[in-house]
Symmetry: C2
Subunit: 146 residues, 2 copies
Amino acid sequence: MPNEIFLTMSISMLNTALEARVQAFEAQVNLSRHDIKVLMHLTEPKRMGALAEDLQVLPSTLTAVADRLEQNGLLQRTRDRQDRRAWLLEVTDAGSTLQARARAMATEGFRTLTGLDTAEIETFVNLMQKAMNNMTAESCLVEVKP
Amino acid sequence: MPNEIFLTMSISMLNTALEARVQAFEAQVNLSRHDIKVLMHLTEPKRMGALAEDLQVLPSTLTAVADRLEQNGLLQRTRDRQDRRAWLLEVTDAGSTLQARARAMATEGFRTLTGLDTAEIETFVNLMQKAMNNMTAESCLVEVKP
DNA sequence: AAAAAATGTTTCATTTAGCGAACTAAATTC
DNA sequence: GAATTTAGTTCGCTAAATGAAACATTTTTT
């Protein structure tokens, strides 16, 4: 099996396992794992469109998610002063608290699941940083559009 | 941001991007990307239950997928001689051909998307091998069950 | 040996998540 | 100023997954 295929399949399986581990947390915070994932991507205030791009979904997909997170007091929508069509999504204090809990859980989960040590994790980070840079700089993502 | 969080998010984004690249192929072969993913996991004959475990879904999820792949002549179901309740899924010649095409496409896609060179890919494989071994040996996957 | 429990897969109703066209309002282009 | 494009929402639709129940078979218990 070519290395790239092994990696593609392994990445998928690891991703699935990491997402599955969010299951217990879902019940605790009354959010779906997709909602949690969206919240975790809000490391800074972002426009709906930019967030959709990050997550590679259509903006219409995020409307309901933003509604739920807003209703749960975890984020707030504010108009972008530079373009009154646009909304900025910003995490609230409650949202930050939840993000911190989710990060702690995910950090521990990642280690438990993969069994990688600190040096290996740093190597992994270097590889993924290069991959992420390549994905964005080269604009070789498949653009999500209708 | 802790390394583990960066990795968790990057793995998710890379996985999404890899899956998105299957889109053109879907139209060519008249299968959904989920069907293609299931087919690609059949590197050897497997039981429905084992395949479900690999993919971390319930067996009921795979019934319709197996139906479509069988109807397309890409796999066949045979009874497991060791347990007549169980079905073995085995890729047909046509299925192997499609797998080969998908592998070629995914191999090229992986390189293009990540920009990683051969040495980096080998490092990545070592890390992922350790992670996969840990995931299965430690039985620390969240068991998928109703 | 018979009965009970467990397992493997399917069926089918339900839920969830995403798409995509159409819409409104705002910005940009001509 | 008018036409075109963009940002996000609405809403109908589809696909994918769950999960309980059913059936057949196997395994375990009595």
